[in-house]
C-alpha cells in the first residue's frame, strides 16, 4: 500500500525544509526589525468568518467540515479574518498602532497550477489603528526590505501601486454608476487573465463602449515611476504625462515612499485594483518585471474590516506574500543558496573498541554544552572510513577516541580539523577543570574563532 501527498500539497524533506526555514527566518528577521510582533491563530475557523468577509461564494474555495457539535468550520484560506477577529476581541487592550506579522499555512480548494498550490505559506504584515500614509509606505518598505534581504534588485521586481479612490473617480467620470462599481473593479482586476473579447463584453455590460473607456483605459495602462512629488518640482512637462487625478490621493503616499528611500522599487499602475472588495485606499502588488508570473505579494488599506468583525472603527493597512511564487522567482534568478543544511560542529569517532565505549558519553557532554555532535551508527573501527563519514556529514572537527580515552582524569582524545588541508590534529585532555570541561572549552574556542573570522 503506497500513499502520496494529497494533490496540491508538498512534502518537505530536509533539503526543502532547509529552504523553507531560510525563508521563514528572513520573513521573521525583517518583520522584527521593522517593528512588527508575531501572532498566530487556529488552523481552522468558523465557516461564517469567511462568509462575512467574502460572501457565500467563498465556500467553494474552502476545505470545510462539521465537528461533532455540528459547527461549520473551514481550514483558513487567508489570515486577515483571524487577525480582524483577534483585534476586534481585544481592541481596547492593545496599544496602537498594532503592528503584527504572521507566517500561517493556508489552504484553498482550487485547481493546483504554476504558482498556486492547495497548501502554501503566507507572510502577513499589518498596521492597524492609524490612517497615516507613513503606515502605508512602511508596509511597502517592509516588503521591499525583504526582497532586498533575499538579494533581489529593483530592476527584477517592482511594487505596482494604485489607489481605490483614484480608480473609482476615473470610472465614475467615465459614467460607471455607484452600484456597478464592484463589477467594474472585478473586470479590471481580471483584465490580464481574460481574452480581449470578454473584457469588451464586460465593458458593454457596464454601459461603456467596448473601445470607449477613453481617458481611463489609457490612464490605467500608463505606468509612471514613484517619486513623482520630487519629479514634479523639477520637471516642467510633468503635468502632460502625469494625469492630475492621481496626485490628490497618491501624493501623500509618494512623499513617504521617497522618504523611505524606495522610489526605485515602486511604480504606479492604476490597473492594479485587487479582486477583494474590502480595500478602501491604496492597493499594491509586487510583480517580477518580466511579468511572467503571478503576483509575489499583494495588499492595501482596509479601513472598514475590523468593524465588520465586531470591533471599533479602526483604519488598517497590510499585505501578504506567499512562498510559492517567491521561491520560483528566487530560483529563476539563481538566488537560492545551494546548501542550507548545517553540518555538525563535531563528528565523534571510536577508533578502537575501548574508545568506542565513550562515544555516546562524549556526544552527551558536547550536546549539552550546545555543540552539534554526531557519530557513526556503524560498528566499524576503521579510522579512514569513519573520517570519510565525518567529512561527508560536513563536520567541522573530528573527535577521535581510542585506548587513551578513559573516564579518568588522564583520559585524552585527538581533535582533527576537517576544514584545513593539512588536517591539523591536537590532543586534548578529557577532564573537568575549573573552567569547565577541557574538551568543550577547546572546541567552543575554536568555533568562536571561526565566527569572528566570518564576522570580521
Amino acid at each position: 500500500m503506497k500513499f502520496q501527498a494529497p494533490k496540491g500539497t508538498r512534502d518537505f524533506y530536509p533539503p526543502q525544509m532547509a529552504w523553507r526555514n531560510y525563508l521563514e527566518d528572513a520573513w521573521r528577521r525583517v518583520s522584527v526589525r521593522n517593528g512588527f510582533e508575531e501572532v498566530e491563530g487556529p488552523i481552522f475557523e468558523p465557516l461564517d468568518l469567511y462568509k462575512v468577509k467574502s460572501g457565500e461564494a467563498i465556500v467553494n474555495e474552502l476545505f470545510h467540515f462539521e465537528d461533532r457539535g455540528e459547527r461549520e468550520l473551514a481550514i483558513r484560506p487567508e489570515f486577515t479574518p483571524t487577525l480582524a477577529r483577534m483585534i476586534a476581541a481585544q481592541a481596547n487592550a492593545l496599544p496602537r498602532p498594532i503592528k503584527w506579522f504572521s507566517i500561517p499555512n493556508l489552504c484553498r480548494a482550487e485547481r493546483p497550477q504554476r504558482g498556486r498550490l492547495r497548501e502554501f505559506l503566507q507572510w502577513n504584515c499589518d498596521i492597524v489603528g492609524t490612517d497615516s500614509p507613513v503606515a502605508d509606505a512602511e508596509c511597502i518598505f517592509t516588503a521591499v526590505d525583504l526582497l532586498a534581504e533575499l538579494k533581489l534588485r529593483p530592476d527584477q521586481v517592482k511594487v505596482r501601486i494604485s489607489h481605490r479612490q483614484a480608480v473609482q473617480r476615473i470610472l465614475s467620470d467615465s459614467g460607471v454608476s455607484e452600484d456597478q462599481m464592484p463589477a467594474a473593479f472585478e473586470l479590471i482586476d481580471r483584465r490580464e487573465k481574460i481574452p480581449p473579447e470578454e473584457f469588451a463584453t464586460g465593458l458593454t455590460k457596464l454601459g461603456l463602449e467596448p473601445d470607449g473607456l477613453g481617458e481611463f483605459t489609457t490612464s490605467f495602462q500608463q505606468r509612471y515611476n514613484a517619486g513623482f512629488t520630487e519629479k514634479k518640482s523639477v520637471d516642467p512637462d510633468w503635468e502632460t504625462y502625469c494625469p492630475s487625478w492621481g496626485h490628490e490621493v497618491l501624493e501623500p503616499l509618494d512623499r513617504q515612499i521617497v522618504n523611505f528611500g524606495i522610489a526605485d522599487w515602486c511604480e504606479y499602475d492604476l490597473g492594479i485594483v485587487r479582486g477583494l472588495a474590502y480595500y478602501t485606499g491604496i492597493v499594491f502588488e509586487i510583480h517580477e518585471t518580466t511579468g511572467a508570473l503571478r503576483a509575489l505579494a499583494g495588499g492595501g488599506r482596509y479601513d472598514k474590516l475590523i468593524e465588520l468583525f465586531g470591533g471599533p472603527p479602526m483604519p488598517a493597512v497590510g499585505f501578504g506574500m506567499g512562498d510559492v511564487v517567491l521561491t520560483e522567482v528566487l530560483s529563476d534568478k539563481g538566488l537560492i543558496p545551494p546548501d542550507l543544511r548545517p553540518g555538525p560542529d563535531v563528528f565523534i569517532i571510536g577508533a578502537t573498541e575501548q574508545g568506542a565505549q565513550h562515544i555516546t558519553g562524549v556526544a552527551a557532554l558536547l550536546r549539552r554544552a550546545g555543540l552539534h555532535a554526531r557519530f557513526s551508527y556503524k560498528t566499524t573501527r576503521n579510522l579512514s572510513k569513519l573520517l570519510r563519514e565525518a567529512a561527508d556529514a560536513g563536520a567541522r572537527f573530528a573527535v577521535i577516541l581510542d585506548d587513551r580515552t578513559t573516564s579518568s582524569s588522564t583520559g585524552a582524545v585527538a581533535i582533527k580539523d576537517l576544514q584545513t588541508k593539512d588536517g591539523q590534529q591536537a590532543d586534548v585532555a578529557l577532564a573537568w577543570n575549573s573552567n569547565g570541561h577541557s574538551l568543550v572549552r577547546h572546541l567552543q574556542n575554536k568555533l568562536r574563532q571561526d565566527l569572528n573570522q566570518q564576522g570580521g
Copy 2:
C-alpha cells in the same frame, strides 16, 4: 457580529506567540545538536492513511472532509503516518539511519480538557533504519536534553520506560492468549484512567481472576531506577527486588542510558504500554513526578510501520512531545521567562519638525543594516513624551533628530543610552564614510559591546 476562536483552539497574541517561539526554538536547537534534520508535510492527508495505521475507529477522532474530487481527507492528528509515507516513498534514496524531527500542528476532534486541546503543537524525533539500542537511548537522551535545556530537573520529571516484549511475556505467563493480547494492552494502558471495578471486569473478560494477576500486577507497579546494569554488579541483593524477566529485554537499553549519562532521569515502569498497537519494542512516557498531569511525551520502537505504508522493512524508534502539558508543567515550576518580546535596538525621535522629516529615512537606513528600529506614529515633538514612549517600548538607544539633522554631509543626530542611569548622550554624524554609514557603525559597535558583555 463577534466571533470567537473555535472550541479547543488558541489565539496567539504577541506574548503567547513569544513563548511559542521560545519553545519552538528550544525544540529546534536541541534537535539539530542531536543530529536530527527537520521535515514537514501537508496539514491534511488521505483519510485512509490514518485508517491503515489505527483502524476504522480513528475516524471519529479526526476532522475529515471531502474535496471536490470526492477524495476523503483528514487534518493530521499525528505526524507518524506522514513520516512513514515520506520515508516509504524515498526509502532507497535516503542515507541511513534517517534522523528526522518535525514541529507540526495537529488536530483531534476530542473534548477539550486540561492538557488536551483540539489543536496543538507536537515535537517529533525519529530514528529510522537502525535497530540499535543506541538509537533507543538517543531518542530518550534527546528528550531529556530538551527538558534540561528548559531548566527542568530529574527530581521534577521522569522518563518511565517499559518494553512491549517484557509486558507480553508476563501476560502470557499469566495465561493471556495471543489474540487477547491487544485487549490486555489496552486495559493496562487505561488502568489509571478507569475505576478499579472496570479494571477488574476487564481482567475477568481476559480470563484472569479480578485479583489474580499475581506476579504481574505487582511487577508492573514496581518501579526501579534506571542504571540497573551498574547496580546489579555492586549490589548482592539486586535479584530480590529486580525481577529477572526484565533484564533480557531491557539490559541493552539500560547500558546505553548509563553511557549517555541520563540514568537519574529514567526509571522502569512496566505499567507503561502506550495505547497504540504499532509499538514493537521499548515504549516510554515522560511524566511530571507528582503525576498530576497527563504525559509530557511518549514514544517507543515501531519496527513494522514503514512496511505497512509500502516501504521496505525498516526498524524505527521515535517520540512526540506536545506543547500543552509541557507549558503547564513549566508554568507550574515558574520556568517561563517573564518577558520574551524583544525590545527595539533603536527608537527614533523627531524632536523638531525639521528633524521629523528624516525619521523614516533614518529608520530605513538602520533597518536595512539589520537593526531593529521603531519610531512614534504620533505627531508630537515633545522630547520627554517621546523618550517615555521609547523607554516603554524597551528600546536600547534613542536616536534624536532635530534641526541639526539634515541630509547633507554635516548633518548630525544625538544618541541617548536608555539603559544607563545617567542616560549618556553622544552626537554622531549622519553621513557616509569609507566604513559605511557613521550612525549605523556607531550603533552596531555599541550593540556588539552589549553582546560581548553578556557572553563574557
